[in-house]
Symmetry: C2
Subunit: 151 residues, 2 copies
DNA sequence: TTTAGAATTAGAATGATTCTAATTGCATTA
DNA sequence: TAATGCAATTAGAATCATTCTAATTCTAAA
């Protein structure tokens, strides 16, 4: 064991600002902020590669490993959500409002849909007594408005 | 181009029986039947490796490639469903009744939960007019009864 | 300033799945 | 019954997304 007590986490100063959200926090380093900003200004649920491409326009030397690292930290902190709609690449989303994902099987686009105000999902399924629910992932697959019209 | 017309698909004879379900069909070869039977008698949503293990007790020489191949054919035919609860291995399920998956984040077990009789999922989300829904994937994550009790 | 820990990086390693090419099996046609 | 041709099966290679590793750089507190 090391005799010295663990140092307290660094406090926000200059660029090293933090955001406390949902009881967790992250050091918002420049790269993490860029990744977050890219995601916050996207509505298309980009993959890690998509995010790499977009962040590169501001930070040409950022690596894929860093993008994955940033995404993990932001996800752990609850600032963004990882979305697994199908096997293969994960997608990411900065919309923290309760919502479901609509996936168009024709054009591949993913969009958010928001529930009606009175929707209480848990009560519709007969879960055994004592079950605790922490989150729900709802994905709706089909054909979007545009693709339906084109047909 | 080959001058001969394509041969009509083989008809059911002996082992080469088919099942027509949801407008599609599969040749139910011995391996496909074994994979299907394993799945139909499992409630734990096994992965491809799990299925390989179980089928091996009857067909010791079956390969992982064949298991994947069978799973793909059975999925395409609508006899089973692929379930993607998190990144990594896909799981498979032969329960074709409308249901949602409950995933215990403590013990990792996956179980089915069935909706209340009057549940009409589509009407709860404000999807753009013209959107066509073909299927919904609903995953509920949390702590199962047993793990909650142990705590 | 020094220093310890965290962030970043490139590239290797991993894990799950898909692809490829060769072989085998089965059912129709000769 | 034998020949034929497609589908099924196989082992192993290839691929893809992600995670890991080890080295380097950065940041902020001492």
């Amino acid at each position: 064991m090391n005799a010295s007590a663990p140092r307290a986490p660094a406090k926000p100063t200059g660029l090293d600002c933090r955001l406390a959200v949902l009881g967790s926090d992250v050091r918002l380093t420049p790269h993490r902020r860029e990744v977050f900003d890219v995601l916050a200004s996207s509505t298309d649920h980009p993959t890690a590669y998509d995010i790499l491409d977009r962040v590169k326009s501001r930070s040409p030397h950022i690596s894929l490993a860093t993008v994955y690292n940033c995404l993990e930290h932001l996800t752990t902190a609850g600032l963004i959500k990882q979305v697994q709609l199908e096997r293969g690449q994960s997608r990411y989303c900065a919309n923290l409002h309760e919502h479901v994902h609509f996936h168009c099987e024709t054009c591949g686009k993913v969009s958010d849909a928001h529930p009606a105000a009175d929707f209480d999902p848990a009560k519709f399924w007969n879960l055994p007594k004592g079950t605790k629910v922490t989150r729900m992932d709802i994905a709706i697959h089909g054909t979007c408005e545009a693709c339906t019209a084109k047909h």
